[in-house]
Symmetry: C2
């Protein structure tokens, strides 16, 4: 029995770190906006997936123009975001009315593959949550104060990516809790509600575009994928 | 009063993860072996720097050929490495006879800049050690066992790069201790000897080439730097 599958694509950032007025999710990557790469990855995984795209209110008209210009044909729900990522995901969740599984994914992780999305739904169906994560390649130190740090065993840590996929009702319930400042991702919100977090292997390719350099790295990675 | 400056470039890896027989430090990056980019960065910083290149015994003839083919003209000391990074650095340190400052750097971090090397020597002169480090861009979780993990505050951690620069006599002394398996870098060896570790800001560009994808990323980053 397969469950209904949803994706909430959260695209909140502005273009400030890029020195552009266009928010980074609308910048072109190999001739196509970052956000379109991201959305298309989910439709490649499943044409039936129900997508909720959460965008800042003032970017919704940019999205409409972009969809027309690039002939984006899929039906999706557009939802205006809140003042924080927490509020944005919460507003996205309100658009889901049934039970099923929901993948929360950063709009600026355009290199996510069908395989990774498939893994996230498959593991979430088994474990109620499935969080994409990779081991650290570099040594890690913990900073104790401005002048002290100590070596920690990097093998005990994972860098967390998206998609982060959950059973809808459990995640909705977790999002009824008050927002806390250090909840940097959905796994943290879910964990705070008392649920277990299941980690699965992500990919070093699945980068988040936050600087102009990241965009060039994504270009290089995409070029070799084609 | 400036101190004498040394660099130990450690290049130990093989090409296995690349599916090539040529070790990754000899693979070409924009038409020049990775290792040459790395070495040239140090000579760009200072033509007077004394460099010790530590290579596996069976790569020394490859190095000689490479130096001739690419007209590498700088004088440097070549030292055969040991069975581990710890042993290799230790053997490199034995080639330094005076006092001064020594930067230990991965042969496969070819994008290190003069500015970063300069910072490392400047801070090491003040603090006896200077370790290149960057904050984490992704959320971090600590893995407790095969099924449990918990969110940790990523702002309390740093990813550690090289160069790692030290006062020569203190580092030599630290390397007289027995090798321990979890000492993944020189900072850890130095710390174990009871010394303080000074961290300074590295760069996200200063990547370590460990996979074919890293090589493509380095190409993309270099292309935009020129």
């Amino acid at each position: 029995l397969t469950q209904k599958e949803y994706a909430i694509i959260v695209a909140g950032g502005k273009g400030t770190r890029f020195g552009t007025s266009l928010p980074k999710q609308f910048l072109e990557l190999n001739g196509k906006p970052v956000l379109l790469h991201t959305l298309e990855a989910f439709y490649r995984y499943s044409p039936q997936i129900e997508v909720i795209l959460v965008l800042p209110e003032d970017q919704i008209s940019t999205w409409r123009d972009t969809a027309v210009r690039y002939s984006f044909n899929h039906e999706l729900t557009v939802q205006s975001g809140g003042p924080s990522r927490f509020q944005s995901v919460k507003k996205g969740l309100e658009k889901i009315h049934g039970e099923g599984l929901v993948a929360i994914h950063d709009g600026v992780r355009p290199l996510v593959t069908s395989a990774l999305i498939a893994d996230s739904f498959r593991y979430a169906a088994l474990h109620q949550s499935a969080i994409c994560a990779v081991p650290l390649k570099e040594s890690l130190r913990m900073v104790e104060d401005s002048s002290n740090s100590k070596a920690v065993d990097r093998s005990a840590f994972r860098l967390i990516q998206t998609p982060q996929t959950f059973k809808v009702s459990l995640l909705k319930n977790a999002y009824t809790a008050p927002e806390v400042a250090d909840a940097t991702d959905d796994a943290t919100v879910f964990e705070r509600a008392g649920h277990e977090i299941f980690l699965f292997d992500g990919s070093y390719d699945n980068i988040k575009i936050t600087t102009p350099e990241d965009l060039r790295i994504a270009e290089a990675l995409l070029r070799h994928r084609l």
